[in-house]
Symmetry: C2
Subunit: 314 residues, 2 copies
């Protein structure tokens, strides 16, 4: 496999919203990008997407040598992967299509080059079945837009070698991503499961006339959504417990896990789960006291609201 | 009832994390606040909470005359509501306790003064049963911390008069809140249902060893959490559909609603639900094109990340 730090060219296979977002990200990080897409209007759409992303990427700071001119668009797969030290696949969510595409990529990509799939929810085990060298295939799941949201979830399939998972995690880290390397395959990975639970509850509420689309969005943007960029659901509730932290919160709000506040049934709040959540919060808080965390959250919420107001003004 | 604009004194009944947060909010907005709490150490805890919140509130800008000295703490309910033009109840989540407390508040509060409960999930119908004048009781559900998160969900019970719901909505709006007035009682109201679905899925994942507490939080703070202050789940997915918007997104990702991406089963994506969601997004987007929304989102995500970095540095 190539050394992570020597990669200067990446191939992006599939150039829709996600694939195109990866293209923009890698271009901004100074890479040469070879994009493959079978659609006749793909190059034009991709150009518009990169153009739309470029002001944001410029304001964030481009890497040395970064240029939109470093992009090649092709409909020949072998040409796209030629010379690439890494391949990111972002084809539509269609299992047979992905299985065949990964096998096709495998044939034309030099041995040892890691191939990552942007799939939102398929496991690599089910996608790598037709590839001759399945060991270099991993999931590298980004969030839209991939050129701005840092998170990438990395996981392998049963036939994936551990070196490929490690290589991909290191490579994403090098290109500025926040990486969660999972030690097992879970459908939807991690963030999508959390987001999907919220999304499905929202769909139920619209379907039942309990809320409008606009109310759903306001409920998040003017409510808990303002906390989540700075503290995830766990630390958020750690602070809902006041000076007693998550331990007090679970002892006080534990019974509400039985309440019909969502259509999703909660797990039993066993002593083991309670302790795992409390201990995890204490560990995550580290040396920060509850008062420190409150001050950090408050500073962030104020700054986030100003950031959003500014962005809405244009 | 008092005119919304003439209210200069509010009573906060219950001074824990939420009640204390309301106290800080109303003080910062220039009100005289009378806080009631039966705990012997309530005044000291409340003082610390207001002190912790005050720098944030000062940086946001205090109303004319706002002062921490405008706070009175008492253990006599009649004294707390004396002269108050509005009462906010934030006692622990315990139904019999709330039923009795609201009845007690009712006895000592002048007719026509609206009483709102901060309850996280009880309906006013079940809480107002013991009150002699139940028509002035509403839910006014805030988010922690109430002095910074704008959202308040307002709803009445079956015995609540519509004037009380309207009065409370107008009053919250006047004190700087973003108000969602609901036309029916839904357990957990709106934002909590969405948040609770995510939270329960997270608990399942920790219980099953699929993720650590810290991974759950990173998955949100480095992932979808960065989008939610600017665009809720609906507009977020409107943009996941590329130039085709939510219509394309649902046609492409609709099948994934059947996938085991969360333990919550999705509703059937009927033509009616699909159209409601697509039409709602188009309406919410208004005159903003997909490109406008992408630009707005991108500006916001960059500014939000900088806001969080700054807040974490202190």
């Amino acid at each position: 496999m190539p050394d992570v730090s020597t990669v200067d060219t990446v191939a992006c296979v599939g150039a829709g919203v996600i694939g195109g977002g990866w293209v923009a990200h890698f271009l901004a990080r100074g890479f040469h990008v070879r994009a493959w897409d079978p659609a006749p209007d793909a190059a034009a759409k991709l150009g518009r997407l990169v153009d739309a992303a470029w002001p944001a990427l410029t304001s964030l700071g481009l890497a040395a040598g970064a240029s939109r001119d470093n992009l090649t668009v092709t409909t020949a797969l072998a040409e796209a992967v030629d010379g690439a030290g890494f391949v990111q696949e972002s084809a539509p969510e269609d299992l047979p299509l992905k299985q065949k595409l990964l096998a096709d990529i495998d044939v034309v990509t030099p041995a040892g080059v890691v191939v990552a799939s942007s799939t939102s929810g398929y496991g690599m085990t089910e996608m790598q079945v037709a590839a001759a060298t399945p060991e270099r295939f991993v999931v590298g799941h980004p969030f839209n837009p991939p050129y701005l949201i840092p998170l990438v979830e990395v996981t392998g399939g049963t036939l994936t070698a551990s070196w490929a998972v490690e290589w991909a995690s290191e490579f994403y880290h090098r290109v500025g991503k926040t990486v969660i390397t999972m030690d097992r395959e879970v459908p939807g990975f991690l963030a999508n499961r959390l987001q999907e639970a919220l999304w499905r509850e929202a769909l139920h509420m619209v379907a039942n006339g309990e809320a409008t689309v606009e109310q759903i969005d306001t409920a998040i943007t003017a409510g808990p959504g303002l906390r989540w960029p700075v503290q995830g659901p766990m630390l958020t509730f750690h602070l809902a417990g006041g000076e007693g932290g998550m331990a007090h919160m679970l002892d006080h709000f534990g019974p509400s896990l039985k309440a019909p506040w969502t259509r999703l049934e909660a797990p039993e709040l066993t002593r083991e789960l309670r302790d795992a959540v409390v201990d995890g919060c204490v560990k995550e808080a580290g040396e920060r006291s509850i008062a420190d965390l409150i001050a950090e959250r408050d500073r962030a919420i104020i700054a986030i609201q100003r950031a959003v107001e500014g962005a809405r003004r244009g």
